[in-house]
């Protein structure tokens, strides 16, 4: 069970007759019900990895399996939460959450949507349009929309990246709570190290398309940022991201 990434190659461009691979002979297995965080600098291949998992990109070589089913393109199997909320602006909160259920012609769409709206704490906002919501609220609707479709895995592409620091803090706790309530497999892309240590069961640090660190986080939840072990993890991953050239400490 889980996700099985089997020797994938992906390049966007060619240089001097050689393919410039973002991901080269990349392998990874993800266990069911795990919360995975993928860390790395811009250009390390983490977004490419997520886009391949979502099916928006196709690998040049190799395949990806979700619960033994090969990925051919985007599908309702894999829910995606984007950095920008990507809600349909002409649909209300409730209608947005119902989108996938309507596609499946689910007769209980409204009730199911309501359940997930309640779960993300937006009770009372069902009839608002996305333009009336704050960034954090819109992001919660995005999460509810992905969950309501009951996918096998949820892919999150820096979902907190566009939020301000305070909201970001709140949302981090919210995501942990929602994950614990649903126990979905989540692949979470971020470049905030503390965010990854706070949320993940397992942290993957990517560097130039290779796995630099693959570490299980053995800390009880909810996690305390001031715990020395927490800080040790943060230091370890920061060092891995920065890599050999310690001069470029700008990790965004």
């Amino acid at each position: 069970m889980g996700i099985h990434i089997n020797h994938i190659y992906k390049a966007y461009e060619e240089k001097d007759g050689e393919m410039q691979y973002i991901l080269k002979d990349f392998c990874m297995d993800i266990n069911d019900r795990h919360f995975i965080c993928v860390l790395g600098k811009s250009g390390c291949g983490k977004s490419t990895l997520l886009n391949l998992l979502a099916g928006y990109l196709k690998p040049d070589k190799g395949d990806i399996y979700v619960e033994y089913d090969k990925i051919y393109g985007p599908s309702a199997d894999r829910g995606v939460v984007f950095q920008q909320h990507a809600l349909f602006p002409w649909r209300t909160v409730s209608e947005n959450v119902q989108f996938g259920l309507n596609i499946k012609k689910n007769k209980n769409a409204k009730e199911i949507a309501q359940r997930y709206i309640d779960l993300v704490g937006l009770n009372g906002y069902e009839d608002k349009y996305p333009s009336e919501l704050s960034g954090g609220m819109a992001q919660r609707v995005g999460i509810a929309r992905a969950l309501a479709n009951n996918p096998r895995v949820i892919l999150m592409d820096e979902p907190l990246g566009a939020l301000d620091a305070l909201t970001r803090d709140n949302m981090r706790r919210e995501i942990e709570r929602i994950w614990q309530a649903t126990k979905k497999m989540i692949v979470f892309i971020t470049h905030s190290v503390p965010e990854a240590v706070y949320l993940a069961d397992r942290v993957i640090v990517l560097q130039e398309g290779q796995i630099a660190v693959d570490q299980l986080i053995n800390l009880p939840r909810p996690r305390d940022i001031n715990n020395p072990m927490f800080q040790d993890y943060v230091k370890q991953f920061e060092a891995a991201i920065t890599g050999a050239d310690a001069d470029s400490v700008i990790t965004e």
Binding site: G55, P74, S75, G79, A86, F88, P89, M137, R145
Partner: protein
């Protein structure tokens, strides 16, 4: 939080008050225009600066309108003009949406149709009227087709651009929620393009009216455009102006109806953050 929302409300009301004042201002300007025109006419009668025949006063135009209504001809002309412009416009809008959707969806249709549209686009619509009359006869067909053509030439690019410019993130999220390509088109691309399509519809109403007036001025025996030409031959200035004003009024009413529909359709657009603040 309370303070913030209160501020928002008072800001809204002061803005509403300003808008109301602006409305009065505009109404007064319009009324003054006719009053000054009338006054000038009255003075002109005394001193004869201009031949009064060529400058009818607003009251003369009202008199013309009264006479036209009285002998029942206005209703006929007005009705036929509305019928022509509406049927041509509606056909044009439907054709534009279908054509625009095909161009935006299939590269091959784009490659076939777009060069032809670009070839005909810059030619003023009016230039086609004689051709259409020879092709489709002097009756209603040539007029309705000219109006439809004027609508399509103006509107089709709005449809195409609207569909093509759909945010790719919305397409991605629809696909990841299980939508088929057809559902992506009907549920996402078309709806995302709708405000742009409506913009095209509003603009096309103007070109449709232009085409209607030209079609009625050339080779018609009914309609508001015909009144203008007919009155010109008899030097009936006030009749001409009455017809022109009616055309303007008709356009304004139809544009107003479109605006009301737009406001109701795109409620999701006009709303702003309001009191929805992250708790």
């Amino acid at each position: 939080m309370m303070k913030k929302s209160k501020k928002q409300i008072s800001y809204n009301t002061s803005q509403e008050r300003r808008a109301k004042l602006d409305k009065y201002f505009k109404a007064i300007s319009l009324i003054s225009f006719f009053v000054i025109w009338e006054l000038f006419g009255v003075i002109n009668d005394k001193y004869s600066w201009i031949d009064a025949k060529f400058l009818p006063m607003p009251t003369d135009i009202v008199e013309s309108l009264y006479n036209f209504i009285l002998d029942g001809t206005l209703q006929t002309h007005l009705f036929i003009s509305v019928e022509r412009v509406l049927s041509g416009y509606v056909i044009g809008v439907i054709v534009s949406i279908i054509l625009g959707a095909l161009i935006a969806s299939f590269k091959i249709v784009d490659n076939i149709i777009s060069p032809i549209l670009n070839l005909f686009g810059p030619i003023p619509v009016m230039a086609f009227l004689p051709i259409f009359i020879l092709w489709f006869g002097i009756g209603e067909n040539s007029k309705v087709i000219l109006i439809a053509y004027a609508t399509v030439i103006y509107m089709v690019s709005y449809v195409t651009e609207g569909i093509k410019n759909t945010d790719s993130l919305l397409i991605r999220s629809a696909l990841s929620l299980g939508a088929t390509p057809m559902q992506v088109f009907t549920q996402v691309k078309f709806k995302a393009a709708f405000p742009n399509i409506f913009l095209g519809m509003k603009g096309a109403l103007g070109t449709a009216f232009g085409a209607m007036v030209v079609a009625e001025m050339l080779g018609a025996s009914t309609g508001l455009g015909y009144i203008i030409v007919f009155s010109k031959n008899w030097f009936k200035m006030s009749d001409m102006m009455m017809a022109a004003i009616l055309i303007g009024l008709l356009y304004t009413i139809m544009f107003g109806i479109l605006s009301v529909i737009e406001k109701n359709l795109f409620k999701w657009k006009s709303k702003t953050n309001g009191d929805a603040i992250e708790s």
